[in-house]
Amino acid sequence: MTWADVGWLVLSVGLFLGFISFVVLFLTYAERKFIGRIQQRLGPMRTGPFGLLQPVADAIKLLSKEDLVPGRADRFLFWIAPLIVFVPAIVIWVSIPFTRDIVIENLELGIFFVLAVMGLSIAGILMAGWSSFNKYAMLGAVRAAAQLISYELPLLVAVLGVVMIAGSLDLQVIVAEQNTVWYIVLQPVAFLLFFTAGLAEVGRTPFDIPMAESELIGGPFVEYSGMHWSMFFMAEYANTFAIAVLTTLLFLGGWRGPAPATGWGQDVMMAFWFLTKASAVILVIFWIRATIPRLRIDQLMSLAWKVLLPLAFANLVMTAFYLFYGWPDWSIVLLSLGLLMATVYGYYVRRRSRLPRPVTVKLRVRQGRIVG
C-alpha cells in the first residue's frame, strides 16, 4: 500500500462520511416536511427558505445543549453507548456500492458484512438502557434487545433467497444479476419480509416499540441529551437510509435504469437512479410512519416468530426448488403470490377465531324516545 493509496482511502472515507452526514441531516428535514404535508401542515418554514436550514439549526441546538449524565448512572457505559450504536451505523457504508464504480471497498461478502455489523448496535442500545439508571430506559432496552434479535432472523433468511438466486454475497454482483428482471418480481415475499424486518431493525413505526414515545417516552434514550442523544438520532437515520439503500440494491435493481452506455454520463445517471429509488423507499417508510399505529410487544414477537420466520423459510425452500429444478420464472412468482395470499387469509381466519368481532348497535331515538 503506497501513500497515495492511503491518501485516497482517507479522502474517500471523508467524502462518504460527509455524504452520510448530509443525507442524515437532509432526511430529518425531509421527514418533517413530508409528514407535515401528510398532516396538512407546512412543516418547518422559518429557518431559511422553506425551512431548509432547519437541520442545521437543530444540529447547532443539539451541540450547544448541556450533555447531562444522571447522578446514579454508570458513567463509562453511559458515555460509550452512543458510540457503540453510532459506529456500526457508519461502518456499514464502507462496503455499500452507490454505483458500479462508486464504493469505498467492495467486499465479496458485502451483504453479509453489512448485516453483521448492523446487528452490533443492539449492544449499544442495551448498554444505554442499563446505564441510564431509569426504569423506562431499562424497559426500552430490553424491548429493543428482544425485538432486534427476533427480527434479525427473518431479515437474514429473506436475504438468503436473493443471495441464492444471484449466487453471490457481493452486492455488485447481486445488482449485476438483476439485468433482466428485478428481484422484487422473483422474490416478492422476500421483499416484503426484508422491508418489514428492516423497519423493525431500525425501530421505525409500526415497530418503534423500544422508543415508544407515548409509553416509554423515548425508551433507552430518555436520559440522553445534547451530543450523545444526537448520535443515537443520527444512527437511527443512517440506518433508515441503509435499509432503503439495501432494499434498492437487493430488490429494486440498484442503479439500473435508462442510462448512456459509456462515459461519465453513465455514472451520473446510475447515481441518479440509485438515489431516486432509495428516496422512494424512504418516502414509503415515512408515509407508513405517519399512518400506522404501533404494535404491542407481544404482537411484535408473535409476528416475528409465527409469521415472518416461517414465511422466510417457506420462501427459502421455494427458491431452492426453483433453482434446483430450473423452473420457469413465472412459477416462482405465482408461488410467492400464492404464499402471500395464504398468509393474509390465515390472518383473517385467525382474527375471526381469536378476537371477538367488533359488534356495534345503534338505538334509534325519535322525538326523545328510544324506538329500537
Partner: protein
C-alpha cells in the same frame, strides 16, 4: 439449569406521570409490573386541584359560569349548561325557546370538538405519529372559529347565562354552521377511515380493557364508556332536558366494552351530533334569547336545593346546588364524569401490558380539570 419456578423475580414499580406524555395532563398512575404485564395499578389524582367547589361558595352566579368553563376545559358549553340549568331549576325559570335551541346547537358542536380531541389523543396514545392529532385539531379549529364568532372566545366562552344566553347569534350564523357541518361530515369520515378498521388498530384495541355492562354500572361509569359496554343510558333520552325530546338521532352502543367500542361509539356520536345540529338549525324559532332575570345575571335563587344533570361528552355531568337565597350559592357539588370513569381504570388495566394501560387511559378520555376540580 435453574427451573423457572426457582428463579426469584420481583415486581417492578413503574411511576407514570404526572409528567408523562400520555397521561392527558397531570395524572399519575403507579403501575406494578411483572415484566411487561401489569399486576396492579394505583391512580393518584389531585395535581390540578383548584378548589372549584369551594370557590363557587363565594362567587356570584354570573362569576361561577367562568369557573365551570374551566372544569372540563374541552367541553366548556356543556359544563356551563348544567350549572345554569341547576340555577334555573331552583328559580323555576322558563327559558325562551330560542335560547334552548342555541344551547343545544352549541353543546352538540362542543361534543364534536371534544370527541375530536379524544380522537387525536387516542391516536397518539396508540402510536401514530401525530397524524390523528392533527386531523382532530384541524376539525376542532373550524368549530372553534364558529364559537369565536358567537361568543368571542375560542374555549372559555362564559356565554350561557341563567335564563338564556349572553347575546343573540351573530349574523350569518346559520350559513356558517351549515358550511361547517358539511366540512365536519367530511372530516369525521376521514378520521373514521384513517383508524377505525386499520388492522393494527384493531389488534391494539379489540378485547383490550374490556368491561361488562354490569361492572360498568357498578363502577358508576357513564357516557360513551358506559354505552360502549352495551348499556343504553343517555341522559338526553333518560331525562330529557332543553329541547332534546324533539330530535331524531341514534345512540351508538358497543357490545364488548373494550377500547375499540369506546372509540367507535365516540366516532359515531360525532355523526349523531351533526344530525342533531342540522335538525336544530332547521327548527330554531325567532324570539328572545334571554328570560327577564336580575341585572347582569346576578340572580338570587330562592332557598332550596336541586340537582341538574346533562349528557356531557365524557358522561353524566351533574351539579347539586344548595341556595340560601343569597347571591352566592351555599354549596355546589359537582359530579364529574371523568372522575367516576377513572374508577374503573384499575379493573380495566390489570392483566394487560404497559402499552395497553396507555391505550385504556386514552379510551376513558379523562380531562384532569374535571377529575381534580
Amino acid at each position: 439449569m435453574v427451573a423457572e419456578a426457582d428463579l426469584q423475580t420481583v415486581d417492578m414499580l413503574l411511576n407514570m406521570g404526572p409528567q408523562h406524555p400520555s397521561t392527558h395532563g397531570v395524572f399519575r398512575i403507579v403501575l406494578t409490573i411483572d415484566g411487561e404485564r401489569i399486576v396492579d395499578a394505583e391512580p393518584h389524582i389531585g395535581y390540578l386541584h383548584r378548589g372549584t367547589e369551594k370557590l363557587c361558595e363565594r362567587e356570584n352566579y354570573r362569576q361561577i359560569i367562568t369557573l365551570f368553563d374551566r372544569l372540563d376545559y374541552v367541553a366548556n358549553f356543556n359544563n356551563e349548561l348544567v350549572f345554569v340549568m341547576a340555577a334555573e331549576k331552583l328559580m323555576g325559570l322558563e327559558v325562551p325557546e330560542r335560547a334552548q335551541f342555541i344551547r343545544v346547537i352549541l353543546a352538540e358542536l362542543n361534543r364534536i370538538s371534544s370527541h375530536m380531541l379524544f380522537y387525536g389523543a387516542f391516536g397518539t396514545d396508540i402510536g401514530v405519529l401525530a397524524t390523528p392529532f392533527m386531523y382532530g385539531f384541524r376539525e376542532r379549529e373550524r368549530i372553534q372559529q364558529l364559537f369565536e364568532a358567537v361568543t368571542g372566545a375560542r374555549m372559555m366562552h362564559s356565554y350561557f347565562r341563567v335564563g338564556g344566553v349572553a347575546d343573540d347569534l351573530p349574523d350569518g350564523f346559520t350559513a356558517h354552521t351549515r358550511a361547517l357541518l358539511d366540512e365536519l361530515k367530511r372530516g369525521v369520515q376521514e378520521c373514521d377511515r384513517l383508524l377505525t378498521y386499520n388492522e393494527i388498530f384493531l389488534e391494539r384495541t379489540v378485547n383490550v380493557g374490556a368491561i361488562t355492562g354490569e361492572e360498568a354500572i357498578d363502577f358508576g361509569v357513564s357516557g360513551p364508556v358506559l354505552r360502549a359496554s352495551g348499556v343504553p343510558m343517555d341522559v338526553r333520552v333518560a331525562e330529557p332536558y332543553l329541547v332534546y325530546d324533539r330530535f331524531d338521532y341514534e345512540i351508538p352502543l358497543g357490545k364488548n366494552g373494550d377500547c375499540w367500542d369506546r372509540f367507535w361509539v365516540r366516532i359515531e356520536e360525532m355523526r349523531q351530533s351533526i344530525a342533531i345540529v342540522e335538525q336544530a338549525l332547521a327548527m330554531m324559532p325567532e324570539g328572545p334569547f334571554q328570560a327577564p332575570v336580575a341585572k347582569f345575571g346576578f340572580v338570587r335563587p330562592p332557598r332550596g336545593d336541586t340537582y341538574a344533570r346533562a349528557e356531557n361528552p365524557r358522561g353524566d355531568f351533574g351539579v347539586y346546588l344548595v341556595s340560601q337565597g343569597e347571591n352566592t350559592p351555599y354549596r355546589v357539588k359537582i359530579r364529574g364524569p371523568s372522575f367516576c370513569n377513572l374508577m374503573a381504570l384499575k379493573r380495566m388495566t390489570v392483566g394487560h401490558y404497559i402499552a395497553d394501560a396507555v391505550v385504556i387511559l386514552g379510551s376513558l378520555d379523562i380531562v384532569l380539570g374535571e377529575v381534580d376540580r
